[in-house]
């Protein structure tokens, strides 16, 4: 009954959309007096063709996967979790506390402990908005926005007045002890004579992110809970008919969402900075919204979208480095990619559908 083959919808449409976005971006680059071909080739070369470039790209990808998944899980239960930023900050706090105050013997154990802490802290930060939504009908969009600001204040207070080493200028915690340092790709994949992923911040938590993608996919499409979350998201009245408790699903979905967001801190705080800094979320909470929307709330789509955004981030830095084009250009390119693939997709799809329909008619 479909108007065009599934592959066309899944591959052709996004591809053409991205090309359109690239085209407009090229015009923007031209307009500010640079050479688009050169710009794009720098971006690609520096982010995708060397192991180090890839390493950097994957580092950002890891962040975006976590926050994207967080938004997606909430979306499946028809909730718009804008609170990723705050949940990441709190997750970072959890990671920091666990890394600083528990004497871990080995990074593997520390990773487990920090994962739990990040998840619990992130989830806890989502709990109040979830509860208020479920019980009082307080709109989750407002409460999560507010909780972002509150989280920033909390972190500011804790870093300046509690976790900061005495006399340090920076509002950051002290460095985490050695045993909590996560192995980077460089440490994992380099051999004696070839150094791979040199000094790229990507670390084991990338695998955790991939694992999270798979886990979320299982959760949403293979488990009873996921079945219930989706059902609730599609129709609350039907969920009630089936005996699915709205309060329960709302709270659980938001806890999972907050937990996933919190886990982003594993990568940024434990994996990269190895201490807790003030701006631990790096805006990834908001990028996560775009990633989830572009990925159509499907883990695979999110993975691809996160990859794309990782590429843009890394490519953008290199571009700024080699050409002096302000990094805001990347923000513009991101915007165009989101716009064309996410919101203007029908502009591409509608003519394609007509084309395929005509082709089919021609055959029949």
């Amino acid at each position: 009954m479909d108007k065009m083959p599934a592959w066309a919808d899944a591959v052709l449409v996004p591809l053409i959309s991205i090309l359109l976005a690239a085209l407009i971006s090229a015009l923007v680059i031209l307009a500010i007096g640079h050479n688009p071909v050169e710009a794009f080739s720098i971006m690609v070369k520096e982010s995708l063709t060397s192991s180090r470039g890839i390493g950097n790209t994957l580092y950002y990808t890891t962040n975006f996967i976590f926050t994207g998944l967080a938004v997606a899980v909430a979306f499946h239960a028809r909730m718009f979790n804008i609170g990723g930023e705050g949940q990441v900050l709190l997750g970072g706090l959890g990671v920091a506390l666990v890394c600083l105050y528990v004497p871990w013997p080995h990074w593997t154990l520390a990773l487990v402990g920090a994962t739990v802490a990040a998840g619990v802290f992130g989830a806890a930060w989502a709990l109040i908005p979830a509860y208020l939504q479920a019980k009082r009908g307080s709109h989750i969009v407002i409460t999560t926005i507010m909780f972002n600001f509150i989280a920033a204040a909390v972190l500011n207070y804790v870093l300046v007045n509690m976790l900061r080493p005495r006399g340090a200028m920076e509002p950051a915690s002290g460095p985490f002890p050695e045993p909590t340092h996560l192995p980077t790709f460089q440490e994992m994949f380099s051999t004696a004579d070839t150094v791979l992923f040199r000094s790229a911040p990507v670390n084991v938590s990338f695998f955790l992110a991939v694992l999270a993608c798979f886990a979320v996919w299982l959760l949403i499409w293979r488990t009873r809970l996921g079945y219930q979350i989706r059902a609730f998201g599609h129709s609350e009245s039907a969920a009630r008919y089936a005996g699915i408790s709205p309060v329960r699903i709302t709270v659980i979905a938001m806890l999972i969402s907050g937990g996933l967001a919190g886990m982003m801190a594993l990568n940024a705080t434990m994996g990269e900075a190895e201490r807790l800094v003030l701006n631990a979320s790096e805006g990834a909470g908001f990028i996560g919204i775009a990633v989830a929307l572009m990925g159509r709330s499907h883990p695979f789509g999110i993975f691809m979208a996160a990859l794309l955004f990782g590429f843009l981030y890394q490519g953008g830095l290199e571009l700024a480095f080699w050409t002096g084009i302000p990094q805001q250009l990347i923000t513009v390119i991101q915007a165009l990619v989101i716009l064309f693939t996410g919101a203007l997709d029908n502009m591409v799809r509608m003519p394609l559908e007509k084309l395929f329909l005509a082709l089919r008619k021609g055959k029949a």
């Binding site: 007045n161 805001q328 991101q334």
Partner: protein, 321 residues
């Protein structure tokens, strides 16, 4: 709290509320017509930049205002194209436009002025002057009412009075005119509007355009009235707060006024009373900073019930699939 303390706080409330109110009313028109808009922030930002930039180069703030409105309208047009014509996802479109504005403003401003995203400071005619209400000076000495009139109500930029006048105007348009009836209908049941022989697309584009104009005014007020320059990211999340106020107000103009004044007031109070000394210990700055947001949650949970959005909101109108 005596009057002398209160008045500056309230004055500050009015100034802080104005951009929120304009953006909130903008969102109200759009969402009442069934088009969700989380791109308020981006529209304000781009309008702030273009109004300041054009006011600077033309030396005339009103030309700047028009430029700001035009810039904001352009984003509205894209939003309309995406969410009305091509039935795209309204949230995605809004997010994309926020990114676009945040990037473009700095990029262009850097290209034009080379001041790191800031525009030069506006002076004289390029800057929005304050309006002094009649007799403001002579009445100042009247007890109680004098200061209220002369200090609190008088001496704001004209756009402030416009913003507040827009509240009853919005109410009147929505509930007393044909256009308002149709606009509300298209946000509730577009199929009813369609079968009544009225263009759904036309109405929605009109609503989105009004939204663009109001966001344009909001942005221009920030960059030519509140401040005589544009600084990068100077909207600082106010579009999101306006969105919160819109939901808070349950999509009603008068409530929107209340919600925006409340947000403005809480912020003004937090700014004015940043260090409260409770004897034994001082309330940390961070608590006061977070206070408006905490109170919002408390009020929302405690007093404002469920907010029911326009029924057809966020959904593109599809006749044939």
């Amino acid at each position: 709290m005596d009057l002398a303390t209160l008045i500056p706080v309230l004055e500050s409330t009015i100034r802080l509320s104005t951009p929120l109110l304009l953006a909130c009313l903008a969102g109200l028109f759009s969402e009442r017509a069934g088009i969700f808009d989380i791109g308020l922030e981006g529209k304000m930002l781009i309008a702030a930049f273009f109004s300041a930039a054009v006011a600077y180069s033309s030396g005339n703030v009103w030309i700047g205002l028009l430029a700001g409105i035009a810039a904001s309208l352009t984003l509205s047009a894209i939003h309309g194209l995406a969410s009305i014509t091509f039935r795209g996802n309204q949230l995605i479109s809004g997010v994309a436009l926020n990114f676009l504005a945040s990037g473009l403003t700095v990029l262009i401003s850097q290209n034009w002025f080379r001041q790191g995203g800031k525009t030069p400071t506006l002076t004289d005619g390029a800057r929005l002057s304050e309006w002094h209400l009649p007799f403001a000076d002579s009445l100042r000495d009247v007890p109680v009412l004098g200061p209220i009139y002369s200090d609190l109500l008088s001496g704001h930029a004209p756009l402030v009075y416009l913003a507040f006048a827009l509240v009853p105007a919005t109410w009147w348009v929505l509930f007393r005119t044909r256009f308002g009836l149709r606009l509300r209908a298209v946000g509730e049941a577009p199929e009813a509007v369609d079968t009544a022989g009225v263009s759904v697309v036309g109405l929605r584009f009109a609503a989105v355009a009004i939204c663009g104009i109001l966001c344009g005014i909001a942005g221009a007020y920030m960059a030519t009235g509140l401040q005589p320059f544009f600084g990068k990211e100077m909207t600082a999340g106010r579009g999101y707060i306006a969105l919160a106020a819109l939901i808070f107000s349950k999509w009603r103009p008068w409530y929107a006024l209340g919600a925006c004044l409340l947000f403005g007031f809480l912020q003004a109070v937090a700014l004015r009373f940043q260090n409260i000394d409770l004897g034994a210990f001082t309330v940390p700055v961070q608590v006061m900073d977070a206070l408006p947001y905490i109170l919002t949650v408390v009020i929302l949970a405690g007093f404002v019930g469920k907010a029911i959005p326009p029924r057809a909101g966020g959904e593109p109108y599809v006749k044939e699939r």
